[in-house]
């Protein structure tokens, strides 16, 4: 079931009512709701998540070695990469597998953790707001969140709704409007000028952020209404002045997981190697991050590029006289260069795009027909108007992002914020056939 469908919100409203009327049954209600949500994707998804969680919970008790349990989870991710997620049977696998691996490692280090309530742990894994694409919650903190009874709080409702409306605006208006020019150019890179292709690559960097953060806002908002805190996943990452800062503010929960379970243990293991320890740990961390996204060579290059960026940053300090906005633009360009590989369907496709960017025909011969009309999908007034609106909305949102973020996380109901966003959604949003959230494919 799509997060942004009327059916979903109708079911959610019903759930909230039942959830607060029967506080003693909250865990069961959430578990059943999450299972029902999972079933809307694929019935097999329920069995896969059950099996995966059962191995995690009981593997240790029946003396299966932790590394073997982890291997099973890694194989599950590999399976999802090789068969693809089109069938939806493996929905959210990359996300809940990380939680299961984390639990296995934690139990190995601290066996007392295995006394966890199985129902709470299972709910922790399948909890529907975060199941499809995170945020990846730390097992201990989410388990505590899920324990106990929640009482209805008006403050939670307001914060939750603020987050949801902001998420819907980012998805239906910004991400959806950006999707056309990007795919039009990525699908036929060989026929466009370098400047046109570069624009698409930069737009994609914005789209990934807007789309994924929109999903996260909705997930956190839904959960907040149920009185359960999910961790934040973004903190204005596109305003970063360095790649290191970017990774502290982007997909925070994945990075936290990677730091805790890969980077720190590996750096510690390799500590005898001196400064190389950090370098190798960085490289391995980003290779694993790339592998987590998919088995394609393009993801690997994306990961390697980020590892290289981080290594260079750790060695070379950017001169302080460079203005902040220049650093910000430089970071955006570096991110876009890496995202070029992330978005490309194949290495061949990426090579073509690179060739175009660095070709002699960088500047379009005719700006109207070779640039504007291509990004707009045609040269009619309606298409050019639509492109202009998209540019205005994206630029406007990015400029006002800090204020919008603050409003969306506030416990106050701001009439102007709500009127502005809901009007923009109905006037400029995409209804009907929306693209699925980008991170649903992982």
């Amino acid at each position: 079931m799509n997060f942004i469908s009327v059916e979903f919100f109708a079911c959610f409203l019903l759930l909230v009512i039942v959830y607060y009327i029967f506080p003693k049954w909250q865990k069961w209600i959430l578990t059943l709701a999450s299972l029902a949500f999972l079933c809307t994707f694929h019935i097999a998804a329920v069995f896969i998540v059950l099996a995966s969680t059962a191995i995690t919970l009981y593997g240790y008790k029946i003396k299966i070695r932790a590394d073997r349990i982890i291997a099973v989870h890694v194989l599950l991710i590999m399976l999802s990469h090789s068969i693809g997620l089109e069938t939806n049977a493996l929905i959210g696998v990359a996300f809940y597998t990380l939680q299961n691996i984390a639990y296995t490692v934690d139990v190995k280090n601290n066996p007392s953790l295995q006394n966890i309530n199985p129902l709470v742990y299972f709910l922790n894994i399948i909890y529907f707001p975060k199941l499809p694409s995170g945020p990846i919650a730390e097992n201990t903190s989410l388990t505590i969140e899920l324990e106990g009874y929640k009482t209805f709080k008006q403050e939670n409702l307001i914060i939750g709704c603020n987050r949801i409306i902001y998420g819907l605006f980012k998805k239906l208006v910004l991400s959806e409007r950006l999707s056309y020019p990007i795919s039009a150019i990525f699908d036929y890179p060989e026929i466009h000028s370098g400047f046109t292709v570069s624009t698409a690559v930069i737009l994609y960097t914005f789209r990934v952020y807007l789309d994924f953060s929109a999903y996260t806002d909705i997930a956190i908002g839904l959960s907040k209404i149920l009185g359960i805190e999910l961790p934040e996943n973004f903190h204005l990452p596109l305003r970063s002045k360095s790649i290191t800062e970017y990774w502290q503010k982007n997909h925070i929960t994945l990075m936290t997981w990677l730091r805790k379970y890969i980077f720190y243990p590996l750096s510690y293991q390799l500590r005898s190697q001196g400064k190389w320890a950090v370098m190798i740990a960085l490289l391995v961390t980003f290779i694993i991050s790339a592998y987590w996204h998919g088995l394609k060579i393009t993801f690997l290059i994306w990961g390697l590029l980020h590892a290289v960026y981080m290594m260079l940053e750790s060695q070379i300090k950017m001169p302080s006289f460079i203005p902040k906005f220049i650093k910000n633009i430089l970071v955006l360009l570096l991110l876009s260069f890496a995202f070029l590989f992330f978005r490309s369907s194949s290495l061949h496709n990426a090579t073509f795009i690179l060739k175009q960017i660095f070709s002699v025909h960088f500047i379009p011969e005719n700006w109207l027909s070779d640039y504007i009309a291509i990004l707009a999908g045609g040269g009619y007034f309606e298409q050019q108007l639509s492109l202009s609106i998209t540019v205005l909305l994206v630029v406007g949102t990015m400029l006002l992002e800090r204020t919008l973020e603050t409003r969306s996380r506030s416990a106050q109901f701001n009439i102007l914020f709500w009127l502005a966003l809901s009007t923009l959604i109905v006037v400029f949003g995409k209804f009907g056939d929306q693209n699925p959230f980008i991170y649903l494919q992982f």
């Binding site: 009327v6 008006q154 307001i158 039009a184 699908d187 036929y188 026929i191 466009h192 011969e365 005719n366 109207l368 027909s369 070779d370 504007i372 009309a373 291509i374 707009a376 999908g377 045609g378 040269g379 009619y380 007034f381 309606e382 108007l385 639509s386 609106i389 109901f413 009439i415 709500w418 009127l419 809901s422 009007t423 109905v426 006037v427 400029f428 949003g429 209804f431 009907g432």
Partner: protein
């Protein structure tokens, strides 16, 4: 807090109603949209040309009128399917005097869902009309599900309705009464569509790239290939339904229907395996309503690729030659 929420809800509902009025007025004034132009009323035409882009690019009412001494209007729409044609014709007949004849275009691909579609947004301002609503409910059920909410009927395809609304208000404020294409006909320039009279600037390199092969002809003009080799058509029941509805409506109103298919470029249609079968099926349905299906696929025009812009659309020169032939069958 409750007070704030109530104020918001009331304001938002007010905004929705305001937008609904503003868009309805704007779109109804956007006379470049054929639905808006024909619903203004007072059009008097002896003949209407109904069909998709093939007939819109092929039949020039100005030239046809010079041969027939009648007055005609081209009601065809780019990429329009039969349901689209049906509603256009319905709205025309509802608001204007009925013509004597309808020149109705049909080709095998008209019955295949791969080609043409229903343009819901063009009928949004007339959604309250029961027949329009019934057709939209059938053709675009997801749209119809939300169209009862104020403004949603414009919001659903806002990329289209935003532009039409602005264009409509601009035309209204400038007192413009004639659309860009006064007779409903658009000349196919047989170039890459650059800077057409309506201000269209085509993307130079991506045009049709996703489904059409573009080739350069001897006279250096362009030719778009519509079909892949051995492509067969799939008959769609809903298309058939609205094809019949058009014939039925004309019969009820006592309008003569001249059903036809304009010349096709033989070199490219001969490899289509079930073309003949579908032509026959179309002819059989027409026959049920006492209508003959006129085919022009054996004319000389069909042998000369330079007279085509694609397998189904003739150039301005080719169209003129076709109309010279057509008029002999059309006039009693």
């Amino acid at each position: 807090m409750i007070k704030k929420i109530v104020i918001y809800l009331l304001s938002f509902i007010l905004i929705l109603f305001g937008l609904d009025w503003f868009y309805e007025k704007g779109m109804k004034e956007s006379i470049n949209l054929k639905t808006s132009y024909i619903t203004k009323g007072n059009l008097k035409n002896d003949m209407l040309i109904v069909g998709p882009c093939e007939s819109m690019f092929t039949i020039n009412p100005h030239y046809l009128d010079s041969l027939t001494k009648m007055h005609s209007y081209n009601l065809s729409m780019r990429h329009a399917d039969f349901a689209d044609n049906y509603l256009h014709l319905y709205l025309y007949l509802k608001n204007n005097a009925a013509p004597k004849t309808i020149l109705f275009y049909a080709t095998p691909e008209s019955f295949d869902l791969k080609f043409n579609y229903f343009h819901t947004y063009q009928f949004s301002p007339w959604y309250n009309d029961s027949l329009v609503q019934k057709v939209i409910c059938e053709m675009d059920s997801s749209y119809a599900k939300f169209a009862f909410i104020p403004f949603m009927k414009y919001a659903w395809y806002n990329d289209k309705s935003n532009a039409e609304m602005i264009s409509g208000w601009k035309l209204y404020l400038s007192d413009e009464e004639k659309p860009s294409f006064a007779e409903g006909y658009e000349k196919h320039e047989n170039t890459m569509y650059h800077l057409r009279p309506d201000g269209y600037t085509a993307p130079q390199k991506i045009l049709f790239a996703d489904h059409f092969k573009v080739e350069t002809k001897d006279d250096s003009s362009f030719y778009y290939q519509l079909y892949s080799n051995q492509q067969s058509f799939h008959w769609n029941k809903k298309r058939e339904k609205y094809f019949r509805e058009i014939l039925k409506m004309c019969k009820e109103k006592g309008i003569k229907v001249f059903l036809y298919e304009s010349p096709v470029y033989k070199g490219d249609v001969k490899s289509l395996p079930n073309r003949k079968e579908l032509l026959q099926r179309t002819a059989n349905i027409a026959h049920e309503y006492g209508i003959e299906y006129h085919l022009y696929d054996q004319t000389k025009i069909g042998l000369d690729k330079n007279k085509f812009v694609c397998p189904l659309i003739t150039t301005v020169k080719g169209s003129k030659e076709f109309m010279d032939i057509l008029v002999k069958d059309l006039l009693p």
